[in-house]
Symmetry: C2
Subunit: 368 residues, 2 copies
């Protein structure tokens, strides 16, 4: 499979406001389409008329290039980085916490950044929780973070539907856990599926067919540990048979951290299954697609060059930052090690790397 | 997604016989690698050193071309086609039967072909049954077909393992139904998984990890209506963590005919899920990969140009025949209609098309 962080396609989607009848014919957001493995924002090709043009990454000097980026530099001057941006976007797992434990020095680092007037945003591809549920996790860990600062891919799915004026009389079929349902409910959408379908089985008899709701206009697929054939068939029927039905993925992460003890198959499994039966590629709203970045930039009115994305994964976090045109900082407190970063086969190079975010404090001190 | 029947890559795999310790380092079969959507024979890239070279289809005159094939012709002279080949390979569903009903005129057609000394072979991507179980289905429908004439993808999975001298002290983890287990057992392989894991659930607690058998050297994935997260995680662990573990797919069919009443999500779902979590592409042994075709040609010592592939699906059956360098006949008794064949967007053109295989009889009579 082709893997490249530097080869991208620019996708322009006409921003036309529309009646409910036309909601599936256009979407009002501009994206960059990232052709990096399958972790990409892709089209529901039967629905959207993408205007694709071959393009290539532009580095900050504005010079277009197909060559790989310069090798990442160890972060030496924290002040310089902090002063150069307005907003820090933090991935959570591997950056703020590991499983249920806070990473050393996080509260002090966040306090320092707030004291300097920096905007802090927390982004996670985990769709099993809603914003509110994440807020409780932050609280339990002793961190003072508001719901409005949290962007989970469960929220992104609902926000995406809002951004395209997905009609309120249509329904959403959910393959995923509770977080997606909660966010859809908050956004005022009708949904079905989710945990309720986890115990359902299909008993086949000659002539048997599964009925499905023809009002389903979008299937949202996220991580689902109660995934089963019933859900596969229901989602497949909606996408294949309901005209204009959207196929939205919260993320395509190969693995996730359900427990600290091992890596667990992630949302990429559930999305891969529905992609396999529908032969359609999903529209991904989580990292590394730029939907959340665009949403944040619009919501807070910030320039993307004023953002620094901080994460522990190259092919989601760092790519997400690079796709959005932000500065990027890799921390080695999660899944990526220095040898992985420096492996000649790795083409994803952040601007800087450091051990953990609290290095901001010691590197400030050292620079004084 | 790029779909083309004419763009292929030639894949040469060094045919080295090997000790058990080296079984995963080479495979003794030559393939053609088909880049048609995801229904392709692909490598476990970490394991095999494929020697790929860009190539393109050769038509029967030997002229290489990237252009689409000539439009399919209606079959007018059955005798000419019958006389030009030695072997007919029939897809089953949509060609021989539909669900549990025989298609009109099939027994007489098969009898006629046998009386003319033609070899008959029946190939199906359905892996839920073994050869023996398929034999019973033919018998129930009043057809005299021996087990040796039947090539289901369940059999292909076991035959593939034999062809690479997969060691008998290694184990196979099965995501799929009973047919695969039966074929593995007949071939003398140790296996685990299958229906037994259908009811298993994962109860997460902090620090919990799933143990897996380190002797698993291959994960075989086929259609599985009892698919669940336990199987996804078990298969993923084997492929990601057991050195050299193979990822074999019986097929990547998007949909299948569990009942006549509707199309059901097919083996492509289960394979897509494992591909999504492992970020590996499977080695596909069913149609349209050429493993079964190569196996048949070697077993019976027949030239592929002496084979006519008869099927009702363009992107599996007809592509399978074309990838193998065989003559191809599309029958309209299954899922493909004449407008679908003649749609300008369809690039897969068989040599001939006709309504059903018993047209062989009427077209013979008409030609006399």
């Amino acid at each position: 499979m082709l893997r490249s962080s530097t080869l991208t396609q620019s996708v322009t989607v006409t921003a036309v406001r529309h009646s409910h009848r036309q909601w599936f014919q256009s979407i009002p957001v501009n994206y960059r389409f990232c052709d990096a493995g399958r972790n990409s924002l892709s089209s529901n090709s039967a629905i959207f008329t993408w205007k694709r043009k071959a393009s290539y990454n532009r580095n900050r000097s504005g010079m277009g290039t197909f060559t790989t980026r310069a090798l990442a530099q160890p972060l030496k001057n924290a002040d310089e980085l902090i002063d150069s941006v307005e907003t820090f976007i933090f991935d959570c797992d591997g950056v703020i916490w590991k499983g249920d434990s806070l990473i050393e020095g996080v509260p002090e680092t966040l306090d320092m950044l707030r004291s300097k007037g920096k905007r802090l945003v927390f982004v996670t591809n985990n769709s099993t929780k809603s914003r509110k549920q994440y807020g409780k996790k932050f609280e339990t860990l002793g961190l003072d973070v508001s719901e409005e600062e949290i962007f989970a891919s469960s929220f992104a799915a609902a926000a995406y539907l809002k951004s395209i004026d997905f009609p309120k009389d249509k329904k959403v079929y959910v393959i995923g856990e509770d977080g997606i349902l909660k966010e859809l409910e908050l956004a005022g959408y009708q949904y079905l599926g989710g945990p309720e379908d986890g115990g359902k089985k299909i008993e086949l008899k000659p002539g048997f067919l599964m009925e499905h709701d023809e009002d389903v206009g979008a299937v949202v697929v996220g991580f689902d540990r109660y995934f089963n054939y019933y859900k596969i068939q229901y989602g497949t029927l909606c996408i294949r048979e309901n005209p204009g039905c959207l196929f939205i993925a919260t993320n395509r992460d190969a693995v996730t951290h359900l427990t600290d003890a091992q890596e667990w198959a992630g949302g990429g499994s559930m999305v891969g299954a529905i992609s396999g039966s529908t032969q359609r590629e999903p529209l991904v709203v989580g990292k590394p697609s730029t939907f959340m970045m665009d949403y944040l930039a619009n919501k807070f009115g910030i320039s993307k060059s004023q953002i620094c994305m901080v994460g522990d994964r190259l092919d989601t976090d760092i790519l997400f930052g690079q796709n959005g045109g932000c500065k990027t900082l890799l921390v080695l407190s999660g899944v990526t090690t220095l040898p992985m970063l420096q492996n000649p086969n790795n083409s994803i190079q952040p601007d800087f790397y450091t051990n953990k975010i609290s290095d901001f404090l010691s590197l400030k001190a050292a620079a004084v």
